[in-house]
Chain length 245, copies 2
Amino acid sequence: MTYCVAMNLRDGMVFASDSRTNAGVDHVSTFRKMHVFRRDNERFIVVLSAGNLATSQSVISLLRQRECEPERCNMLNVPSLFQAAELLGDTLREVVSRNSGQAQGSKVDFGASFIMGGQVKGESPRLFLVYPEGNFIESTEDTPYFQIGESKYGKPIIDRVLRYDTSPPQAMQCTLISFDSTLRSNLSVGLPIDLLTLRPGKFAPSRQLQVCENDSYFRTLSQRWGEGLREVFASLPLPEDETLV
Amino acid sequence: MTYCVAMNLRDGMVFASDSRTNAGVDHVSTFRKMHVFRRDNERFIVVLSAGNLATSQSVISLLRQRECEPERCNMLNVPSLFQAAELLGDTLREVVSRNSGQAQGSKVDFGASFIMGGQVKGESPRLFLVYPEGNFIESTEDTPYFQIGESKYGKPIIDRVLRYDTSPPQAMQCTLISFDSTLRSNLSVGLPIDLLTLRPGKFAPSRQLQVCENDSYFRTLSQRWGEGLREVFASLPLPEDETLV
């Protein structure tokens, strides 16, 4: 399984992905799910992937291979992020149809989904969610974030604290707490977490890091969050017969 | 969808279920999912259901109908809760095999799952989770609770605060917060919530209530929990360049 989140906020973007891949619980490996396509001072595009690893790796490999073919549309020459999302969707359809065509009668799910975001010079930062069918949606100020993979455990905290005007450091904090809840509940989501933040108009990450098990900030955050939750819980009024019919 | 939780703790049991049923988002109805089988001073058994409504209703109806047939095993004469769980599992298999047999080629999922718990005189309180296949597991002191239906949004809070020695009023509080998170994130889980607590050796509920939208305790709990979470979040240390590589 996988857990990836990305946010497109007023003052910046946050991208995060775990790095566990599994085929059953007895076949667990570490694969990065964050991929960057960049051209200095002109574009910075981040792609997060979830789903069938063979599919998502093929999609990324094809996109990388075609970077060097300037005669066709590629991630480094498309003039907008919308077109980059179209390109990703088309490449995904191409890989899925090739794999499904060869696997006659197999019940394997070849699907993969992606979050793609960043900035191409001349545009504002944009964020897209690409479905396994290759179509996609874009984030808005009302819904400034997307998740893929095992999204449910970590969604309530994001829904409660994230707004379009949340600052990027706070959004990063919120993202790490969301990961903490997910890591606790689903064994198939695992450390390290790849984290990247991007400021508008800067075509390079303002921060890029990998959060490992012994990262002291993540451990502090996780511990204080857990303690804080238990304190809030302990401070809540107990049900009394009067208050409940 | 559905969300049901039940806990078997040192000092009592807690059962809770929502009451929304849907077939698509445009066909939403209210159905209670908590069913009680009782015999004064001798047994009190609570069944919570999730999954295909036709299946779960048929199972409950058959169990009720057979209550009046003393010559066969039924919910009111089986000597243990384990046998009650076997009976529920058998009845579930009977209904599913009848329905699937008639619906040739249909892709409808006829599955349903159940939580069954309570006490039969001569035994301690026991709690079982009955799978769609009719087999079942029992709770333990290490894992004193079960969930069925849309369980993910409301699981992190239970995992963080619930222990075998948590008091029943606190467990009820924890259950309501777990429901609050689920209600916020999944439209197909809806109020009212049926809640019931049971003390060991009492074959009648120590508390039984329905939490509706205007329940002042639930609203206070939900509001203070949300505020508390945001306060804890605001008190967490922000990431600094020093703390993160």
